[in-house]
Symmetry: D2
Subunit: 357 residues, 4 copies
């Protein structure tokens, strides 16, 4: 169950304080020239310590390929890779060995497995997503063949919300600021909001929006693996995610059908829709319009405040965590959202080759 995807498959491994995090990508077609810099670029966007509003942990996060790439090109064989763990202050966690940190996975892992690696969350740590970023960066390179691009950005931090839809934004400006919001003014407010949370030794949540362009009509699988169901599954598998909506989403349910329906029109040679409440997906299959969706991230559970909880012996204890943690996960989660979207789309790109004779 540590495998994601049907045809383009990532199997991930690793714990936050083990030897390393990595994975095997199986099903990547042969003949793809890998641009390792592009992979490293996405790792850098996810990396801790990249700015004043993220954790100050230093992790170089250099990917090493163990197989599947020969003379720079994929071979159709499994691509194994690892990112070695460096900055492993395992001892920081010794005090937490028997403690159930609130809203973490400590309690549930122990209930499930009867044992757990208590060092920094072990397998439940968000550090695991580094494997997804590597695989997603490869998936993006595969998706470049049919011309698909994926851009995510932070659209809300706490109550600070971008007021404009993506169609009125210049998404190329997303990387221009620390918080990865394409509107400079809103970005400034968001950064302030995160700094406040950090000062308060607290955390803050928000929403990431993702836009996918260039998907041709016909990707997606009825009935269970609707394209948006696979996207939602992918997003909900990211640490701290609490919700997913695509196209008109929760708000759109307040419209009437006649307001919500996307009327088909002719646009030169193409058939397109006048509006795009459908978010580029109808009946679970892409219709050629932009795909867009929102992902809700909770305020992360690791606070630097004193908190009451219970330990493995059912004793009440008080914890007062130290360390270097993110006050807000969203800026670093942008490449993770993109990566998971890329994995889903690369999978459906390949599957679309099987649609018809």
């Amino acid at each position: 169950m540590n495998t994601f995807g049907e045809v383009f498959r990532l199997t991930s491994f690793g714990e936050s304080h083990g030897r390393g995090i990595g994975g095997i990508i199986d099903g990547c077609p042969a003949g793809l020239e890998l641009n390792v810099e592009r992979i490293q670029h996405d790792l850098a966007r996810r990396r801790p310590g990249q700015s004043k509003i993220t954790t100050q942990r230093k992790e170089p996060d250099q990917v090493e390929f163990l197989s599947g790439v020969f003379e720079g090109t994929t071979q159709g064989t499994p691509i194994a890779f690892v990112i070695w763990n460096k900055d492993q202050h395992s001892n920081d966690y010794h005090d937490l060995k028997g403690v159930f940190r609130p809203s973490h996975a400590d309690f549930t892992y122990l209930q499930k497995y009867g044992t757990r690696d208590y060092r920094g969350g072990g397998r439940s740590s968000a550090r695991e997503t580094i494997a997804r970023v590597v695989a997603g960066a490869i998936a993006k390179q595969l998706l470049a063949k049919p011309g698909v691009t994926i851009q995510a950005y932070v659209s809300r931090v706490g109550e600070i919300s971008l007021q404009k839809p993506y169609t009125e934004l210049d998404l190329s400006k997303t990387e221009d600021n620390l918080v990865r919001c394409p509107d400079a003014g809103t970005a400034a407010q968001m950064i302030r909001r995160i700094e406040e949370a950090a000062l308060d030794r607290d955390t803050v949540g928000g929403v990431i929006t993702c836009v996918v362009k260039g998907v041709p009509a016909g990707w997606g699988e009825p009935v269970f693996n609707k394209l948006h169901a696979d996207l939602g599954f992918a997003m909900l598998g990211i640490n701290a995610v609490k919700g997913f909506e695509y196209g008109s989403g929760f708000e759109g349910t307040k419209l009437s059908g006649s307001q919500h329906n996307d009327i088909f029109i002719r646009d030169g040679e193409k058939i397109r829709t006048k509006t795009n409440h459908s978010g580029g997906i109808q009946g679970g299959i892409s219709n050629g319009e932009d795909i867009y969706f929102n992902v809700a991230f909770k305020p992360i559970a690791t606070l630097l405040k004193e908190q009451h909880t219970v330990d493995v012996n059912s004793q009440e204890v008080t914890i007062n965590p130290k360390g270097r943690h993110d006050p807000c996960v969203l800026p670093r989660a942008v490449p993770i959202v993109e990566a998971m979207a890329a994995l889903v789309l690369a999978d459906h790109f390949l599957m679309s080759k099987l649609n018809a004779i």
Copy 2:
């Protein structure tokens, strides 16, 4: 890709105007005494024509088992079943043969497959969900063994919203009214809202909330198959669903971490949480608290209003659909949401037998 689940698996088949809809359930353990009446009860809750606020189509929707059940008991072998299609006014659809109905799957299916069964949506019809209700009703009976119960209800229709959380409602009253909202006053408003939409030959969307009780701590699979990711995937695979959130959901992202964290407490022999923003799931694994989530349904696309669109020859056409359609899908979708939740939970119940030696 018409299979759902890892261990308890439903493979569904059928088109709205073909011979029938059905499926094969593989992986149901041997020795489960099937109560067919309970299955038929859920089919009746989903059935068209059940009340004045649903479509008036008459479909008896009687399930027939073809295999896997012997002397009333499951045999561990595949359980095949079919619900024969009866009320098939295929000719109603002949006019729509070459037309792309707005926000339906007509266009995308044709793009994907190069062919399509145009009669009533074919495979993309929500009639397919009948197979899920049968399988879900069996999953519910399996889940009764560990004491799990699932209850969904309509919590919003258009702008008419239930103001109370589920913890302040008597969910046993859900079936007391046509709209399946456990609060009588809100239910009356919702029914009125649906009747208005019907009069207006339009449709209206909304939200269904689902509550699962009795799941012990330890179900769910890191990292991709988090329990809520599988639930979200299941819900997003239901026709007309646009969003999913669990626990504190989108709103919870506005809280600070210190407000959002669920503090562990001792409750007699058990370890529980004081609040339940986590929605009963931490790190993707159940923690023993109630699981609850929301599912957003768009206003369905089939209107009885004149609409402009385009046909297969890229010609602009005007359609003016007739027939018997639901002004609001939500009351009939309640058992579908429950069924999909049951499929996910039965799967994780079985998988939990594999956690540890």
Copy 3:
């Protein structure tokens, strides 16, 4: 686990004395015109009562499609089908309810599931293979697109063995006699051998050889799903099969490497091999030469002789089965071998579309 295949998938259902046997084919591409006569033809080759050397049970074995085919063409959606059980003398089996027939699955099913459908073997009956023949007949029609043909024949019955390799036989004569051996003289001996067994109220086993022509180089998946591993898996899943070998097989292990190696040569534009000990598969991937393999069938366990055994209460009992049974399963197993080969090859045909960019 009642599903076969990765991309072209058959999920089968049914017991010998239940309502019917059938299945769902998922992953068949859209746009394949189905020739139902060809399907029915393979069912007739498998049908009981087809000749004096098979069981005299009469089963019409007419396939009925429930979904996935519209106006004679596959739609890319799941193809469900059923063959209704007709000639169900269930009462014949009542005496055997608590008895473990020697070398049948009675004992093992009960051990596994704690329950079993005792009527005629239930799910363990070879009648289940009827679903495979239907799916295989569709796979053959898909394989006709790339020009692949599959022909199996009986090459040994008891000690009566065809002395010539397939390359020296005219396989088009396979259907010219009751036993499906392309050499008339050997066929006559085989028929006599089967008639002797029948007279003796006993049974006889043998070997089926299968030859696949027209597979281009490049089908098959390293490392676990080697083309011959998938073929072997498919064959070993057929009732009564005890062994599988391809190319030079068990005998070839006696050669030295220099005798066994297939030297590459130029043949016009093509690269071919001088000999074909490899059986058309090298490193698990087809090389463009003929694929050929042998399948060993044990003498079936249902005898009309008195036998000693034990019942569910561990009491020793004597059984003296009556009824209409095959003295030799091989003639009817020829289309089953072909069907399973077709399923494997259709799967790899589709997968081969994913090899490279």
Copy 4:
């Protein structure tokens, strides 16, 4: 497709001359104390250079675990491991870059992928089986819980064949000689036969027999995943394997049904069979008797003789391979056969927990 197993799953990676060979084991239950020495012991049995009758290449083959094991115990999380490649004389292979070695996978890989790693066979090298030996050694430790043991041995080399069935042998003597044949006299002949082949710069094939004891009745899955079908699939996926038979195998097909049937008898509290032509498996499910099967290995294709072949430009060339190669793969394949058997049985052991309520 580089994944093996349903519940206990190995995904393998690596090429013979890449960075290393390894894999991820997913689905191993938590709480298994790993004995790394036992793993290393099986690696040593597979290791090149272990005796005068194997290749003299020196490969230390030390396994390094990257995840999933904490304080010596499995955590239920994926177990990643790698065996670093050391003795990589890649340049040895430069001459063979464009050449299709007879009966190797050079030609077919290039046909499939349009590219290939030509160094020592790349992914098609038998060095990949090292990952299987590691995973199999862990599976064996899991299988020790229900008391299952697996012992393979060489039963034929070329024409030199062990005359006794396993029931008349002392399998504990298997490791007493270089060829891993439990009969000292036959072993001596086999060793001589291999030495002759080596002197002749040729290779020789043979048969490995494997015996599994302690499997309780009830493991195996009808209808496609019969226990012997999964075993056969596993064996046929090993490099150089050409055939598989279990129980009475090909020879048994010459018996009549009345000779072949295994009569059930009472043996104290247990129900057993008088003979075991069934090889411990009936209807695809274990019956509690010993499981035994044969695996045919061809003489490996790498000869140190001059051979004619063709290159990528369709030019005829002559090759005269140098290097350190095995004249006979069988002694080193014994632990590989055991490992694959262990993977299959561990998988079915876990699946058997899902049989009944």
